[in-house]
Point group: D2
Chain length 471, copies 4
């Protein structure tokens, strides 16, 4: 598989309580997950609870690989029906055992079954795991979800209910976590007190739905009720919906990169439409880094909205500068090392009619290593662009993230080791401009401080480990 | 698989003569075909000629399914190397035998081997086939490519060379055909005298490349030399490149729908950039059917360029109104009948931030049955659009095509049975406007008459059969 | 895949006319083919005729791979029902195009559709093919079945019926052929005038069944009516069963190796039970090559009956000396070159309880290259055998076969280049004895001359080509 | 998949310590497992330890499906090399989650990694599991192997070494267990104090090998050293081989059905060749239940040795009465309900030459439900047998097994509800005779009491649960 040169989110989660009228519950989960596939493409799974019995299927691959086709449809059908179901899409580390890490995690304990789907990253994962091991626990996965399952299980032994066990577990776990948890008779949505990762509540007829992003609600025809509050536990059971808010009320730290890149533009996160935030980023960029040019083009797909924002603000015409191939999937295997350089043209081909003989403002949402950007700039020049002025709808990415994305060290971050001018030279652009950190906090209307922008600023909302504790 | 509500092109073809320096010849064909996958997604194949021995692999499925993954890479590798190679992507009729119809077709005759890849449709297919049968021919496929192979073979018996046999065969076959033909030592590109389907010539180092569209040249890093002329046979062999032009010089009839929908916007067909033609269509639409509105949005992907053209001409802001899912592939199997209605939201979700509370100009390239358009209009209203004014960047589609697309009768064409006002009501739009036939001929700078627009006008460049003669 | 060191039959064929009460016609063909799988394991196919429309599926692989499992069951189901159906299992040459050679071959000609399944080898294949090419024929496979289809088609143009065309075609084709041929309304079974390969007629309720061996009749619960006579064409249609016998009555030449190795012991070929012939071969061996020993063991599976015949004749106890693994399939890929030597122990492990400390008579049906026999002898000695006296239930194999088996030259035949004593030394046996050619003709009760034993004697029933004309 | 009408063993295990010269360690495990495939065909897995890091692959399917073919070979290769490796083949309950139950189980605990492969069944599984749950354990599988892993882990916290933890764990677990356990630097073989399931020690160069049966040693070219003693822990590490024998010395209870049916005839279990035991069973049967007959035929494969023993003892000729199809695999899906009755003829066809017109002694190793036996008797009569006298080389099977086979209740056991005469009538035999329980204890030379024959006698060597505690 080719390197996309992009940051990767760790996961997307989905849960539904109730039997949707005239529809299959697993079909709803699958449709919801399809809308979240951009959040995780390495493995996926669905677990369904039928009268307290949990059946699950999870495997490596896209949803269309695991649940599509003749085999996949058989698998989906074999899950049967139920009253509660959850699902998960995931990025993760590679390795022979990685199928084990596919979620939802399903476990049995003294009170029956439990299934969990997790999006985030615990900062005290290793310490918690060591403590559990010291009391005789065994681990079959390398994911921190198993740690969470253990801690809830231990708390459950001395708490009257699963939701109180979850609440007690929240005293122990630190970092970013958005969870859906299914017990024999309840479905819970849990969000860490900072609200790093998104999680929202929807309604589909009499059913309650939880999803990482509101686009998954659209995907099944559900309506958005509200977001799960940072620190909130929302419980859906036969009595309806209720909350435990003992961990609510602190400082929030929504990941700003959800708005810039991770989330889908048709989602609304914590009240802010993602598309609006991106167009605003483009407009800020136009104000911060103006340039004389003929056309503004965005790198598809995530750079398009910022490009439109830049164009509108600057008055420079918006153009469609690239064709992105839909057909080169993850199954692509490069036919011969020497064909590799052409890959960028197969994946992303500039359109000469738009770029030839033009001065281009090129908008992307990030520069990670710089190699992908360099290739894109070169294809534009090969297609006849006179000048290429790159504008990035985020500040320079110079610090590791400990809260659920896959950049674990500064080593490969081009912006961490080069000035803006050096970076421009490395990627071959005539000029380069990043969004300022001041403006990144203005992507929504909230007061400064509601965001985590540690990857740009190094200022994290809570203590981070000496060594990054993820898989 | 869901019905896309779109017309479907029949095929894309690719050929290369020569061994590309430092690269595998089959890898080049595969990369070229990836760039042509939009022209055919039901089957694909590659044939390689190594010293006069042809090895081929073809199967049902996308390129990523047939030549991707572990198995596909094995298949590609098993083809070995060679000095000439051709490839094909295809739509076609369904049915148990359809794998047989996958191309390139490989045959052996008295002069050795031959492989053909064909894009088009012969209008006298049935008559030719019957004549061949009367002289004892047997047919193993239902494709007209096999008819072409027979006729060339028969002519070859009394002609001194394969190219003269091909030229003689052109006296017999009628209709639309763009072909690449590989003999033991030559590669030929052939285009029917009307030039219905595109075909171009490229150069990659010392290699000659033929492809349906120039985007396939970009895909392998080749440069566009020129288009194959209507009626021309271009022969590549060890002596270089030469042409037979005995069938050249007549009236041309390039399919106008290649510009409107089939071709990729980054391709240049017969000298006209596809993107330019589409933006021009949008501009004409704005002049023909102006409307008071707040934002112009295109239906992705093929409606985007016309939407930009409309926006620029009208002064109404261009907006990004939809998210199109990349993840719901052809392998999708609907989980329960009742979930079907939500499919359109999974595939194509409107972005409220752009459409809510707005008067929308919605641009698409065609309306076939009307059901897809109706669903799209409805999702816009559900997302809060105040008004939806649909504009179609083509005239009403009211006649069958005999030249290589898959609309065989007027029966299901909504525009063939309804006025524009009725159609607007059927699809739920506040207003509806089509591009005029006058303007469709102005999508490039050529004089009227260079296009075939029979699907709009009923005026075909040559006699068409009583009954449409395709599979 | 490992080399089995065995000769390989080319094919098995099956056909049914009529709709079996309460059963699916394709299910019957599949069950019949399962019983013939030993005759061909590289590809298989089924063609079904529903009202004159033929639908077929054929692919590389075992029946359980092509028609088993979830995918295979879908394929079988997609064939639908019908009134006539034929099937085929096949060995063949390897190569990229080999899927094309899978049968039944289905073709269309002026009189409609035709499907053929062929077991045998034409000796004048190349000459016939060249003549066809000279009149403009094209070939899409390398199999001689396509040649037969052409010749029948050409004759059909000037004959009033398909059966008369088949009869006329038999004047042209030479060599070994057992065929089932399906036309729009008829099913025919055809056997060459020498009757090289077996072919029998069965009855299942009102249905007529044709099969290579009677075990396929058992497999579907049909009863054996009689064998197709050498030279006979048997036609099943709505008028019942009738024959054309214009090519009957000459000298017959049944392949003697069908009795020795190819056929299943539960089949009865041309009136002779295969098991009886094998046990008789063992008894002859005991008379020709007696030895002092403690136990007689056969190499499973085909050596067991001859071993029992030897034991009964000699009075030496019969023993079960080997376990043959059922689990190492054709999909086996050797994990590392160095593990190869152990493969024979995984596939065929001697049982110490029977062989340790014993003088062994080891019975096998043939020695081809000698390497497999050498490995088997060695494993017996490793397991403690004191002496190993090998007895082969056939004469030395020293000539190529032109009539449907896969030994094309004498080059690798150990018996063609070594005396019996030398061969014994090569394989490591204490002694070695072959069945005499005199006795091989007595394996059934027919007069000498009814068999082809050209592979042993070099005396072929008809002229053979200078160069072996098979794929 | 069809019901075989046979009891099913639960598992086969294999382990190797050391790097085999010139061979891959995973290739050795795979070859060993191929020889054990008869002990488990539903799932399989291999775990390899490279410097303390364990990599594993396990999945549903036969070894040829999971580790064969292009994909399987990739999987095997991806495991890499190592210094210790274990493997497992398994039967088990069906269900959506069953892939989770595939072994070896790999876990991490405070002392590092551990992998276990288990053959057997704990009788106190449920009680142990409940206790573990009460202390906060979570379970991800339903297999008792996970219980064993937990108990060892808990003991490991307070024991100085893994082997002492295993020894302490043996104080808690009851029932049948043969285990191979891999820690970061050691490989252990453990057998329960009764020695229900077999387990042996082999030597391959400098490597130590453990396997369920000695045929797996043959399969990799290793030599049999001795059996693991009941109650023994054998530890292989860099210091060599040593034992803990604190649980040795009690009454042994080897499963007698291993000799009668489960084990391969080429294995030697606890000093007794399986083939010898089976032939002895046949001889006892001949003495206990003589009959006037013409031929003795065994039901392949497991009835053949007893048939030979019966024939030798009785003087009635041994015959080869059936052909068993090798080609109808587990992937077989029945083409239409009505074809089902013919399945027995496709799987097992009688050979008329042997059975027609004869009085048959039919030997099989067991009758479970009776339906399979009835079908076999019927096919013999259809093939012309005059009389069928069934003899069973085991006593009537009338009690559940708690020690690792899959008969959980008496409900479906024909012998539990019918007299011998009634059973004979049910299966359609002219007479029926079972081996006596007296003689079943004489299948080897050990004193009565060394066997467990609880399934025949109801006399179990240790307390069994009220309700059978298996998955």
């Amino acid at each position: 598989m080719y390197d996309t040169g992009k940051l990767r989110e760790e996961c997307g989660i989905f849960g539904i309580y109730g039997e949707p009228a005239g529809r299959s519950i697993t079909g709803c989960v699958l449709n919801g997950l399809y809308a979240l596939q951009h959040r995780g493409q390495e493995s996926c799974g669905i677990a369904v609870n039928n009268g307290g019995e949990i059946t699950a299927h999870r495997d490596l691959g896209l949803l269309s690989e695991v649940f599509g086709g003749v085999f996949g449809a058989e698998k989906l059908k074999s899950l049967g029906g139920g009253q509660i179901a959850i699902g998960h899409v995931r990025y993760g580390t590679t390795g022979a055992n990685v199928r084990l890490n596919a979620q939802p995690l399903t476990v049995n304990h003294i009170k029956g079954c439990m299934a969990l789907a997790h999006n985030g990253n615990l900062t005290n994962h290793h310490a918690l795991r060591k403590n559990l091991e010291l009391s005789g626990s065994i681990f079959q996965t390398t994911s921190d979800t198993e740690v969470i399952a253990y801690i809830i299980t231990r708390e459950r032994l001395r708490r009257p209910s699963i939701e109180e066990a979850v609440s007690a577990a929240m005293d122990h776990i630190k970092g970013a976590y958005s969870l859906v948890i299914m017990s024999p008779r309840k479905l819970m949505a849990v969000r860490d007190p900072f609200g790093f990762r998104p999680l929202c509540i929807g309604k589909l007829g009499d059913c309650v739905v939880f999803a990482s992003e509101s686009c998954a609600l659209d995907g099944i025809g559900a309506s958005l009720v509200r977001d799960v509050e940072p620190g909130e536990i929302v419980i859906a059971d036969h009595e309806g919906l209720r909350s435990i808010r003992t961990h609510c009320g602190g400082r929030t730290a929504h990941c700003v990169f959800e708005y810039i890149y991770f989330a889908r533009p048709d989602s609304v996160l914590d009240g802010v439409p993602v598309q609006t935030a991106r167009q605003r980023a483009g407009a800020f960029l136009a104000m911060e880094h103006p340039v004389q040019a003929d056309v503004v083009v965005g790198v598809p797909d995530s750079g398009l909205d910022a490009a439109l924002g830049y164009a509108r603000q600057s008055g420079i015409p918006y153009g469609i500068g690239f064709i992105k191939s839909k057909y080169i999937g993850r199954t692509f295997i490069e036919p011969g090392q020497s064909n590799r350089e052409n890959l960028v043209r197969i994946k992303l081909n500039p359109i000469s009619a738009t770029v030839s003989g033009k001065r281009i403002v090129l908008i992307d949402d990030s520069i990670v290593r710089g190699t992908t950007s360099a290739r894109i700039v070169k294809t534009l020049r090969d297609a006849g662009a006179l000048e290429v002025h790159m504008r990035v709808s985020a500040p320079p990415f110079i610090n590791p993230c400990y809260f659920g994305t896959d950049i674990s060290s500064r080593e490969h971050l081009v912006a961490a080791h080069n000035t803006v001018e050096e970076t421009a030279r490395i990627i071959g652009a005539d000029s380069l401009g990043y969004l300022s950190t001041e403006n990144v906090f203005k992507l929504n209307d909230r007061p400064v401080g509601g965001f985590c922008a540690g990857c740009f600023t190094g200022d994290y909302p809570e203590a981070v480990p000496e060594v990054r504790e993820c898989e």
